[in-house]
Symmetry: C2
Subunit: 134 residues, 2 copies
């Protein structure tokens, strides 16, 4: 379980202006008239916040969280005022055939809002290294 | 084909400080000693830049680019000074069974650097709407 991150309306707009400049991420009235029915964070903003929560929440990878890729889904948008947290579980460990000290670890990370609703599921592949023997 | 986006060292560090605070994204000497062998952008930064290029490059979705999720892979990192562009192609169109004016469109977007090397492939599912009949 990670810490929490409160998503401010201003940060939704700032992220969107730089990386996802679409009306439903930038402007509340325009968002109201869109399929989102109100200002919605970019999915990539949710993904970036999730990464922050994973890094600062201390997933147990000694060399850091080195992502190779994964599958992402956004069942509902993040909204202004949402307080997000991430729950991660290891799904699978795939040892490298050629590099005995390496493995690819599949981690399912679910990002939840303050009402326990899922805003993102990311099943990521992380490159992991065995700790040196003591 | 999108426009291009030059990735500055400062923006790599700024993004990482906010969303992916790991040494290999923040500090060139630390990154030199890491598996990346030099400062590397967060994969989520590459993803966010890719979204910017998709939005500003005018993918032909009338209601905007509404992503439901997808599969992402980062075969190599984005580096300071890289000039990125995105090539997108529609892979599949899945009409909605219940909503006749909606479809899910699978788009493969490949993000390339100035040497033509792939830094990201994202196969995204985009919610699309039929244009109103003329």
């Amino acid at each position: 379980m990670s810490g929490v991150y409160r998503v401010e309306q201003d940060s939704i707009k700032t992220f969107a202006a730089e990386f996802d400049p679409q009306p439903f991420h930038l402007d509340a009235p325009a968002a109201q008239a869109s399929i989102f029915g109100g200002l919605a964070a970019s999915g990539w903003h949710t993904a970036a916040i999730t990464m922050r929560l994973m890094v600062t929440g201390g997933l147990p990878f000694a060399a850091g969280i080195i992502g190779l890729g994964g599958e992402i889904v956004w069942p509902r948008p993040t909204r202004a005022g949402d307080i997000l947290r991430v729950e991660s579980e290891i799904v699978e460990i795939l040892p490298s055939r050629s590099k005995p000290n390496q493995a690819v670890v599949k981690v399912r990370s679910t990002t939840l809002n303050q009402d326990g609703e899922t805003v993102q599921v990311f099943i990521g592949k992380i490159l992991a290294f065995k700790r040196a023997a003591a």
